[in-house]
């Protein structure tokens, strides 16, 4: 009889084997193409942080001079998400740019309906990159799908000369250059890179909080080698994104068995086949999290994930499912920890699931905070002010 050594997964130590780990670095090909005059590479500006990716490649994360490639779903439906990202930049006095010369990546539509093609998708991406480059800033991508899709676009442009030629011609007709950033950087990577500085400025104790994490599929499944991993987080077997930040804030991050599952967004499903999104989100994510980890909040880092996990709980409640778990982004959690206003900055009234018990557990006077927000709204209604300013939000 053969006795094979048996060990529990939790006891195993996983180490990257340099002999078998893929070492391919797309930047080498980008710089080569630049030398050949095929494209121009936008360099990551100083100062930047260096972080480890899945197979050990070091990725540069710019800290400032960032051009904020906003997300249509975030800005449109959960705008406190992006507001919190900007608020964090302002708190640290970092130079950032919030452009109006920006379209969405249009990839939500592409994955939903296929009513586009690779040339159009690449041209939309490069038009946005060129707009960033023209004003001297580096693109920081807010949406997980834009991030994943732009990595796919970069990959295609590097490996398909004909696509490069077509996109270069289109850009020429728009009076633009074919420019590709040295790194495609997601905002949550910036939050991760800033986590020590965020923790230094933390004013709300979060050590009594348990959170679950949902990583966005298009962050760590598309071009997986470009996502952040760390030996300290899940033994580098899962992406360190979000978890690394929450742990720095003193939050207990609890595991659950469907961590790898998607949120149920489905691109076309969330818009025209929502029965799937609702069922998947409630039955495979929210219920499992509550059953196995009983968290106070679940934290994610993408547009569709926040929306689907949050909004689907309404139907779950109607069916007496175990739901009622607040959903927030890592940017909102980081801002909250640093004392941001839950309504003026985090804009939590755009979220659906009741988040008041969670805030009360943090010692936040929810009634008072809402009253402060209502004062602002009253001033807008009476015409005393046209808009709420950053100064109003920061007070």
């Amino acid at each position: 009889m053969i006795h094979l050594p048996v060990s529990k997964a939790s006891e195993r130590i996983f180490k990257i084997d340099p002999d078998t780990a893929p070492t391919h670095d797309i930047r080498e090909e980008l710089f080569q193409l630049e030398k050949e005059g095929e494209l121009e590479v936008i360099r990551v500006p100083e100062p930047y942080m260096e972080v480890k990716t899945k197979f050990g490649r070091i990725k540069k994360i710019p800290l400032e001079k960032t051009w904020h490639h906003k997300s249509c779903g975030q800005c449109g439906h959960i705008p406190g998400y992006s507001t919190s990202i900007f608020w964090l930049n302002r708190q640290f006095g970092l130079d950032y740019y919030d452009p109006t010369d920006q379209t969405s990546c249009t990839a939500w539509n592409y994955y939903a309906s296929a009513t586009s093609n690779p040339e159009a998708q690449a041209a939309v991406a490069i038009r946005n990159f060129a707009a960033a480059h023209e004003v001297g800033y580096f693109p920081l991508i807010h949406c997980g799908t834009s991030f994943g899709h732009y990595k796919e676009v970069r990959h295609a442009l590097v490996h398909q000369p004909e696509l490069r030629r077509k996109v270069r011609d289109i850009m020429k007709r728009l009076g633009k250059k074919l420019v590709v950033p040295e790194e495609v950087v997601h905002y949550s990577e910036w939050v991760y890179a800033m986590r020590d500085r965020i923790a230094e400025r933390q004013v709300i104790d979060m050590s009594n909080i348990t959170a679950t994490v949902h990583p966005a599929c298009h962050y760590h499944k598309l071009i997986e080698e470009d996502a952040i991993y760390s030996e300290e987080i899940y033994g580098a077997q899962r992406t360190a994104i979000i978890t690394g930040v929450l742990e720095k804030l003193g939050i207990n991050v609890a595991d659950y068995s469907t961590w790898f599952d998607c949120c149920g967004f489905g691109f076309r499903h969330i818009l025209v086949s929502r029965d799937f999104s609702r069922s998947f989100s409630v039955q495979r994510k929210i219920e499992v999290m509550i059953e196995e980890a009983n968290p106070d909040v679940t934290v994610t880092h993408d547009t569709g994930c926040v929306t689907t996990l949050d909004q689907s709980q309404v139907a779950g409640q109607a069916h007496n499912k175990k739901v009622g778990l607040p959903v927030m982004s890592d940017s909102q959690m980081a801002a909250l920890a640093m004392g941001a206003h839950p309504y003026k900055v985090l804009q939590l009234h755009w979220h659906n699931t009741n988040n008041k018990p969670f805030m009360e557990k943090l010692g936040i006077d929810v009634k008072k905070k809402w009253a402060e927000f209502e004062v602002e709204c009253d001033q807008l209604k009476s015409g005393k002010k046209e808009f709420m300013s950053w100064e109003d939000a920061e007070n």
């Binding site: 379209t103 499944k221 909004q311 804009q347 300013s389």
Partner: protein
């Protein structure tokens, strides 16, 4: 719904036509990077969200295209691919296939060729295509209306009622909009329309929804003309 895989399902379509569509998929530049054969291990199915709720299998799709089963590929192109969530969890494939991207390519072929089932899959989706093509933004604040999201509960009523004030109560200056998710420059929209024009995307829309195509052409041609471009989409 149970997937009907019998060969009779699409016996009214000639083998040559089915083959033509399959060849179009295989001619895609991505094809050789997303299909390497299939072990039939089922890892993709284990990771797949759509497989849990539909009679749907990325393994079946990978197998059909790897075996070049023209009839089966045609059936799947009609009755299965639109169930995919495009999450790419199946990129875990040990054979380095990407069933999700195989599906992306098959969907593009279905749309390009105006398959009836593609039109059905996109029914009700036209207003979204209009939004993305005409504004460059997939969704907007003013889409948060109770009739559009009845299953999101009374919260949507609250947002719809307070939309204007709540948008103005956002500190970033770019977010005070309701028809688009942020303020977009005119020149940016013009450049986007020129991209749609140069890449032939509007031909796809015409094949899927002629009414929508005509509305979009009106909007785009007018704005392009105002900006000094003599461009037609016909």
């Amino acid at each position: 719904m149970v997937l009907d895989l019998s060969i009779n399902k699409y016996s009214d379509v000639t083998y040559e036509e089915k083959e033509r569509l399959f060849e179009e998929a295989k001619a895609d530049d991505r094809w050789e990077h997303i299909l390497y054969g299939c072990y039939e291990c089922g890892i993709c199915v284990a990771a797949c969200p759509s497989a849990r709720f539909y009679d749907f299998s990325p393994r079946l799709i990978a197998q059909a295209v790897a075996r070049e089963d023209v009839d089966l590929v045609y059936t799947l192109m009609n009755d299965s691919i639109w169930d995919c969530s495009q999450c790419f969890s199946c990129d875990r494939c040990p054979r380095q296939n990407s069933p999700g991207q195989i599906i992306t390519v098959l969907r593009e072929v279905a749309v390009r060729n105006g398959l009836q089932t593609a039109k059905q899959a996109l029914e009700g989706y036209g207003r979204i295509i209009y939004k993305i093509m005409s504004t460059g933004s997939q969704v907007s604040p003013d889409m948060l209306q109770p009739d559009a999201f009845p299953d999101w509960g009374k919260h949507v009523y609250e947002i719809a009622e307070n939309l204007d004030i709540w948008r103005r109560a956002l500190p970033p200056e770019t977010l005070h909009t309701t028809e688009t998710s942020w303020k977009v420059d005119d020149k940016t929209i013009i450049e986007l329309y020129l991209i749609w024009h140069m890449t032939g995307v509007m031909d796809l829309i015409e094949g899927i929804d002629e009414g929508l195509f005509m509305i979009l052409v009106d909007v785009m041609e007018e704005r392009l003309e105002e900006a000094g471009y003599d461009v037609t989409f016909d």
